[in-house]
Symmetry: C2
Subunit: 303 residues, 2 copies
């Protein structure tokens, strides 16, 4: 089953000529979850051939323009393309009235429903769930209410080995019990341990999106053993003071969080436009967490 | 003196992977006038190396998203870059409250003044004037109040031939009179006709922006002898009915307006995303107005 991340934009504060502002897309079994929606996100969705119709859930981290100004165009385009199915938008308080006021002001009646889900609180919450995944909010530490999002694949039921089924011909009820972890007891009373019968389900994968945030070890516990962690790194350590003042992180801090959380891989991004070279970010982060990559527009990472 | 047009976006309704939505920039003596501001305009300004600080006047044709959704990001970026000078925005009614409500909702206090100028009425009006140019509104025929803009360079005063000045050494008052068109009368009573003394000022140049609009000959008189005319051509003539229903024009209709107005050159753009080839637009238009070019993102036309 697909579980892949496409990075649409990596700039902070405003786009540059080479980098769009923040937007990520997580593909879970060909259903696409958009995380943040900076200006130009709809262009980047097209550039990455991601169909708008397969996008039903949008997660906004916070209400700074570089993280949501692309929503208006994306919603408008979906309207022009005749979308009928509801579009769910998850965000801190305030977005619903901003979006509704705008479309009301231009007399645009959308042909589909926008369903807003307000994210709040100081502790992580389950904010979305379907048969494949669940999504938790990650309370971050920024100048305004800001949430990251943790996407966790659900554990699948294991398959039963074909050879066992052919030999013992178990009934439906027995099959269900085996999938739930039961051993098999044959009609002659022979016990076959569960682990000999099943092909274990693949390990559930997970992706955590953490932008924008000051360094905060409070998130580490929730991120424990995450497979892929995106953590903002707006500055280099040399601008640590500036990072603290503006509630952003340095590459070293992002790597420290990845290390403490025992993440599988770290992506750093949201680089300040003051930097023209990004290799120093990678070097700085790798000192503390080796499996780090630099976010790039249109980067695809498959898990 | 520079008088050049850069086209930043040429798509209609929504951007495609190759075309940004509508935005034009007119450079008048290194002062830049932005006309419409679709999503991604700030990216295109960067791509065309147009400095944000030299942009003080923005003209919005109408409040459909593909013509103004880029304003929020552009204003926000100017704020982040520390702009201090006022920014003037000309548009039909409604934009001021949309922009102010948005920035108020996200608690963003801009460090510069936004000055809104409401364009209204059914007849052309002077909406802007400085020492180099004047700008008139062009009432268009669209589904909502929509205005094009006519930029007209002012007639410069002529220069006086160096040879004449050296021979006759006229006083300052006489020089001013000559520049205003007076003949010169020497101390011996000799009359030298004005046209023999002056180097005429170059012919004032003009640019008209007409998007979006149904075919309407009402605008022809105002556009008479315009040097450069941009007229939308959302559809080909085969979709004439669709053009009429949606208050847009065909390539043939755009060319007809250029012909009737005796324009110097015609640019057509705002092509519907239903078309993948644009040569047919050019062929159709050229039948009625030969000096036609297709709008392309990043096209620069110097007058």
């Amino acid at each position: 089953m697909t579980f892949s991340l496409t990075i649409l934009g990596t700039s902070s504060a405003f786009p540059t000529s080479k980098r769009y502002p923040t937007a990520h897309v997580l593909n879970v079994c060909e259903r696409f979850f958009l995380i943040d929606c900076g200006e130009g996100t709809q262009i980047q969705l097209r550039n990455n051939r991601i169909k708008f119709g397969k996008l039903n859930h949008i997660f906004i981290s916070h209400l700074h323009g570089d993280h949501f100004f692309g929503l208006f165009g994306l919603i408008s385009t979906q309207s022009l393309l005749g979308r009928k199915t509801p579009l769910h938008i998850y965000s801190p308080a305030g977005l619903e009235s901003i979006v509704n006021n705008l479309f009301r002001a231009v007399n645009d009646v959308l042909p589909f429903e926008l369903i807003f889900h307000e994210i709040d609180g100081k502790v992580a919450k389950l904010v979305y769930e379907d048969k494949h995944i669940c999504v938790e909010s990650i309370p971050l530490k920024h100048r305004i209410p800001t949430y990251g999002y943790l996407f966790k694949e659900k554990l699948k039921v294991p398959n039963i080995k074909k050879k066992f089924v052919e030999s013992y011909k178990p009934g439906i009820k027995e099959m269900l019990n085996i999938k739930k972890g039961a051993d098999y007891i044959s009609s002659e009373g022979k016990v076959i341990p569960n682990e000999q019968i099943i092909i274990p389900a693949p390990k559930p994968r997970s992706y955590a999106f953490c932008s924008d945030t000051a360094y905060s070890e409070k998130i580490v516990e929730q991120l424990k053993d995450v497979d892929l962690l995106y953590h903002e790194a707006t500055f280099l350590e040399e601008a640590k003071k500036l990072a603290k003042q503006s509630y952003h992180s340095t590459a070293r801090q992002a790597a420290t969080i990845a290390h403490l959380a025992n993440a599988g891989q770290l992506i750093i991004g949201h680089f300040s436009a003051r930097y023209k070279q990004f290799e120093p970010f990678l070097e700085e982060a790798k000192e503390f967490f080796d499996n780090t990559v630099l976010a790039k527009d249109n980067l695809l990472i498959e898990l």
